[in-house]
Subunit: 256 residues, 2 copies
DNA sequence: GAGTGGTCTAGACCACGAC
DNA sequence: TCGTGGTCTAGACCACTCA
């Protein structure tokens, strides 16, 4: 073991102490931590040495701070594994679904899982034109969707269809979210078969908006995705799918 | 445009100003930023308001700080795209290579790209036993490899083979890194054909060591990977492949 | 109104790098 | 020796939440 406490900066000692107490369960899940002033008193440091310690724990996803209330121990995030086999399952779901699907019964247990949807029409900017391999300015439908699990936003997706393709169809209505088979289901209902999905994964600090919506100080995973049909035409672009990286795993599977 | 400067916290204003000057090229790549004290004077704030601003820019990967020297504008990281088609190319390379390959000629232009390699023997801990689907304690060969591009460490990989499989072979020697066809090449040389690769991607703050080696304050991408042969046996585990997320894109391709 | 975290100031001392 | 960033202190005011 490295000789712990001494000669370490004060804020690291504070962070280590608090982290140890959280890990040991002394500060249980949901517990309100002592206030910054009280931590400072208890550990004989100034409040300005407590704050960077809490910054560290926030970035590690161990605690969440609410202004005016205090800092709380976060529940350990269950490892939410997102499998890219999802796309194969989506394709299978699409193939056996009649679109548009009957409206879901008003099941209140589903409410906390319902997404927020905003559909708008926009011209393709340079980046989208490149991803779609179409001229800049081509009309697109933009879909901004906030996905929730148990009421907690976990994913913010901004995706695009060619406006020509979806205009006047069920896909152009907010009722098309959530859709059986996801985007692949949408396209299936338009007689477009997705044959290739190309996701590109990066990680970056969240924008201010994303941090607020996803309630995270951690970096986010940002996925840019293209969907292609059998002729190689790009039929959907997601730029970007933003996921709080806390407790999320993206699983791929490559057959050789 | 959102009304920029006013009513924003001072440190955000400072960060925005510096970011704008970097983006505009006023502070060119490699430039030494004004010292914290001088930025404070110039913007009429205290040094303690400049520091969080620089924290933001560091986390965005825009600047790098060296104690005693100052803060410098980092070169824009070229988007290094890592394609998972690499595995298919590796398989093709392995199939046409005779192992062990002839030692590379002493080509000094390659030196800055040579990896650091440490091979050790370890018993499987609980996590590795689970990933390999073998009993805890099974002897493994552990490979710790630091990959470099132009002398800069970009990736730290810790991977494992079953010791029984590699002991006494070329794969058990440091000369086996770098290998044509990577891990797939190693296994091919042992008459083991990799049929499936299963990478799981997460993002997390770097450990102190990783931050030092990869010279980054950004979160890192951490990939845990299994390689399986035709019978479904796990023949290699990487836990973890750690990549500085700055400017890195992981590209996958899924055929439906 | 009392307590919380968010922000800010004006100082200070230190280890380190460059000269 | 001097300037740099790293750390730390002791204050202060604010907006916010909650009783």
């Amino acid at each position: 073991m490295p000789q712990a406490d001494s000669d370490q900066p004060a804020y690291v000692r504070v962070a280590d102490t608090l982290r140890r107490e959280i890990r040991a369960g002394i500060l249980g899940v949901g517990t309100l931590l002592p206030s910054e002033v009280n931590i400072a008193k208890a550990m004989n440091v100034s409040r300005n040495s407590v704050r960077p310690a809490l910054d560290i724990l926030r970035r590690e996803g161990l605690v969440r701070t609410e202004v005016g209330r205090g800092t709380f121990v976060r529940p350990p995030v269950p490892a939410r594994r997102i499998s890219m086999n999802q796309y194969r399952e989506d394709a299978a779901t699409a193939a056996r679904t009649t679109y548009p699907p009957p409206p879901a019964a008003a099941d209140s247990t589903l409410a906390p899982h319902l997404p927020t949807v905003e559909l708008t029409e926009v011209p393709a900017d340079a980046g989208l034109a490149d991803l779609f391999r179409i001229p800049e300015g081509t009309p697109l439908q933009r879909r901004y969707v906030i996905h929730r699990v148990n009421g907690t936003p976990v994913q913010v997706t901004t995706s695009y269809y060619l406006l020509d393709m979806v205009q006047g169809t069920w896909v152009a209505t907010p009722e098309s979210e959530p859709s059986p088979g996801g985007a692949i289901g949408h396209l299936w209902s338009l007689d477009v078969q997705v044959k290739k999905v190309r996701p590109v994964v990066t990680s970056r600090p969240p924008t201010t908006d994303e941090a607020a919506v996803l309630r995270t100080e951690r970096d986010v995973l940002a996925i840019t995705r293209q969907m292609l049909d059998g002729s190689g035409r790009v039929v959907e672009v997601a730029r970007e799918i933003v996921i709080s990286s806390a407790g999320v795993e993206l699983e791929y599977e490559i057959d050789l």
